[in-house]
Amino acid sequence: MLSYIAHRLGMIVPTLIGVAVLCFFMLRIMPGDIVELKLRGDGVAVTEEVIQQERARLGLDKPLASQFVDWMTGLATLDLGRSLWTDKPVVEEIGTRVWVSLQVAFMATIIAVLIAIPLGTLSALYKDTWIDYVVRVVAIAGLAVPSFWLGMLVIMGLLLLFRWLPPIETVSFFHDPIRNLSILIWPALAVGYRYAAVATRMMRSSLLEVLKEDYIRTARAKGLYERLIVVRHGLRNALLPVITVIGVEFAFLIGGLVVTEQVFNINGIGKLFVQAVGRGDFTMVQGLVMLVAVIFILVNLAVDLLYGVLDPRIRSKA
């Protein structure tokens, strides 16, 4: 198992290099000039000379190869460069926001797991009964309703029904946990519902599959209690694909809460991502892509390790 983990960790470096190279060149293909947008975007007749000076200051006049070398050497020393828009270090800009996005993602994951596993299980166990129908309706509604729209409904509901809105500025959980939760619980619920819907559908279908397996029939033939069969033999095996879905969804939430963050005015990674792409802030986008890549890789690794914990066959193969 240890050598398996070491092998997976070893693969991280080449994967990240590949992402860094792809990301650098793909961004340069995109049209648009951050300097023009910054200085002429509001219609001010800034001279070409000033534009060229600013390009030179930001290093955008250097040959592409030189910019690439700067980016890769910076990456090797964990220096992601400075934002072309704010001139602040990319690490600093991301650092102030990543914790909020991570917290929302964790909270949404907890909400999704708490909803999806019991509901998916119930739906599978009571297949084609009213319980199954209700769960399926709830899950399909969760898939159909965009999170940001649900978020807007939540905001409007709070405003109209309770004349209350969550505070508009995010604070650290460790600084003021109540205020922190009163802000972040709403986006976590809005996102967690859709997340739960995906996981519930997966849980149901996976458990239905597992319950048809020979080893379940054997367990029943041995006279084991149904609850024991479902929990020990059914759920444990049915959870494997559900964990994959949860892992992928979690990683997606780090950079994917774009509109939801805007609706709830959360200062997170998704909002920063959209702003950086909109402005053509290459260095910031590169930094964010690298962050999301690292999170995806680590979450996938964690999911694979969990597979090993849940399934002895995988553990022994590793």
Binding site: L39, R40, A45, V50, K88, M156, L165, T170
Partner: protein
């Protein structure tokens, strides 16, 4: 040397005109001004974007002005209650020589920077020299507006003298620009880029903190040179998306958003919050314009450009679009209501502004036939921003359809739109004009030859327009200047490289607790918050 009082000839030299028609629903600020200002409290307001850095001289967006203006003093400023009258900020008084080439300013005594150091003429000189001749690596976005300045002199610590190479009718008004923050000469001497990353002015509020993506704060500067001001203990600018602003205003989480709301959002807040909010409305110093790519066929032919401009019924648009958007007044190249703008009688004689749309469209079709253009199909390049770009674009497409022109609406993200415009990779496009004050020298830049004005993306080269522009800029006689501007406008509308579609309306929603704030046609002005106070 004739003395100019701030309320006298100065206002005439600057840009007098129709006073802002600020219609205030709910509680009027006029009523607020009559009350005794109350000290204390923190004003929380929303800003829908965020400044990239802290340097006034390098920035161009309202997102910069709204949080940063309260920290700095200017030499002059616009009097918000009597726009476009100019009043002193650091300048206590000033004189202008009879030839209009020497401007002498006496500064208020005992002005202090936030670090306690004295602000003198040396600081004003250093700040303006930074704008006029920026050191290497410093961006000065408005360098060109001061190209008439020959020297800035400081005969004594309280006096600043600007000497011009030639007359500039806009010079005084340009000194009242909200972007010309006065920095400490010592700080600039130590590091010319100091203002990019530090906020240290002499304005009513000291810098508190800026949390990137979240908020910006300021605290009252007790050493502010205007006795008794500011009234607020501080302010808090919260950065949020436009979609979040409406809820925040309705829910009372923010007390203001100073740029302006769309009619639907304004009405939603008004209906939801009732008498807890006040609405200020005024014509906005911004317009939507249609740009033709004069370097590309068939728009290299002025008949085709004029034909397409003739097809647009601006008067109908004004009535219809004002109900659903910020678009409203019909106007030419200058804001309707501004004293140098064309009157309605003058405007209706220009191509594209007549009230008989059938006759205009007949003429348009004739022009297209003369130019040998039939079955024209073109792209309209636009930003993917609904208010007011998409709405304006859709209207233009419908209007052009009426003369048989088929238009494909190409809506792009702002960065890609900007790229298409700069590279000339478009047929025709929706653009906008907007600035901090009504003045032909500023407001006509989108109509000049591209070589002179890179923000005119039409690619036009029209020496006559450029000559008329230079003449009006140097003409200090108002009547003669108006004549030159009119001549410029007629030429611009006939050639139709760039044509106005509609001007904008500005609606600002504030909590009724907010007092002392005055509406102006520009969202760049009156944001130092020195006069603002909270009723509770």
């Amino acid at each position: 040397m004739g003395i100019l009082h701030r309320t006298g000839r100065l206002a005439a030299l600057a840009t007098t005109g129709l006073a802002t028609t600020a219609l205030t629903l709910g509680l009027a600020t006029a009523a607020g001004a009559a009350e005794t200002p109350r000290r204390g409290g923190t004003l929380t307001f929303a800003v829908t974007a965020e400044p990239p850095n802290y340097d006034c001289h390098a920035n161009t967006s309202f997102a910069f002005i709204h949080p940063v203006a309260p920290h700095y003093s200017l030499l002059l400023k616009f009097d918000p209650a009597n726009y476009p009258k100019i009043t002193g900020d650091l300048a206590e008084s000033w004189t202008v020589s009879d030839d209009g080439l020497t401007f002498t300013f006496k500064l208020h005594p005992n002005v202090k920077f936030h670090d306690g150091s004295a602000l003198t003429a040396r600081d004003v000189k250093a700040s303006y020299e930074r704008i006029i001749n920026p050191p290497k690596g410093v961006v000065s976005a408005r360098q060109a507006t001061f190209d008439a300045v020959a020297s800035v002199e400081t005969p004594d610590p309280q006096t600043v003298v600007f000497k011009l190479k030639g007359a500039d009718a806009s010079f005084l008004a340009n000194l009242a620009s909200p972007w010309n923050c006065v920095y400490s000469a010592d700080k600039l001497a130590a590091d010319p880029k100091f203002p990019e990353k530090n906020v240290m002015g002499s304005g009513p509020f000291k810098f508190g903190e800026h949390v990137s993506g979240s908020h910006w704060t300021g605290q009252r500067f007790d050493g502010y040179f205007r006795q008794g001001e500011p009234y607020l203990d501080g302010f808090r600018a919260v950065f949020m998306s436009s979609s979040a602003v409406t809820n925040a205003l309705q829910g009372g989480q923010v007390q203001a958003e100073f740029r302006g709301l769309a009619p639907a959002d304004r009405d939603r807040v008004k209906n939801g919050a009732g008498d807890k909010v006040q609405v200020h409305e005024a014509p906005w110093l911004a317009s939507l314009i249609l740009v033709f790519n004069a370097k590309k066929k068939p728009f290299d032919d002025p008949r085709v450009r004029r034909a397409l401009s003739l097809a647009i019924d601006r008067w109908q648009a004004s009535t219809a679009l004002a109900k659903i958007s910020i678009l409203g007044p019909v106007g030419g190249i200058l804001r309707p209501g501004y004293e140098l703008a064309a009157s309605e009688a003058e405007l209706t004689k220009m191509p594209g502004f007549g009230k008989d749309i059938k006759a205009a469209r007949d003429e348009a079709m004739l022009l297209l036939r003369e130019a040998g253009v039939t079955g024209l199909t073109v792209n309209l390049t636009n930003r993917n921003v609904n208010m007011p770009y998409t709405i304006g674009g859709v209207y233009v497409i419908d209007q052009l359809r009426q003369i048989g022109v088929t238009v494909k609406h190409e809506q792009l993200e702002t960065k890609l739109w900007q790229s298409a415009m700069s590279s000339g990779n478009y047929d025709m496009a929706i653009d906008f004009t907007g600035d901090f004050m009504d003045d032909p020298s500023l407001n006509l830049t989108k109509y000049l030859s591209t070589e002179i004005s890179p923000v005119n993306y039409s690619g036009q080269a029209d020496p006559l327009l450029d000559k008329l522009y230079a003449q009006q800029r140097g003409e200090t006689d108002k009547a003669k200047r108006a004549q030159l501007v009119r001549e410029f406008e007629r030429r611009a509308m006939e050639q139709a490289y760039v044509v106005p579609i509609l001007w904008w309306n500005r609606s600002v929603v504030l909590s009724t607790d907010v007092k002392g704030w005055e509406m102006t046609p520009s969202h760049y002005l009156n944001q130092d918050l020195a006069d603002v106070w909270l009723a509770k």
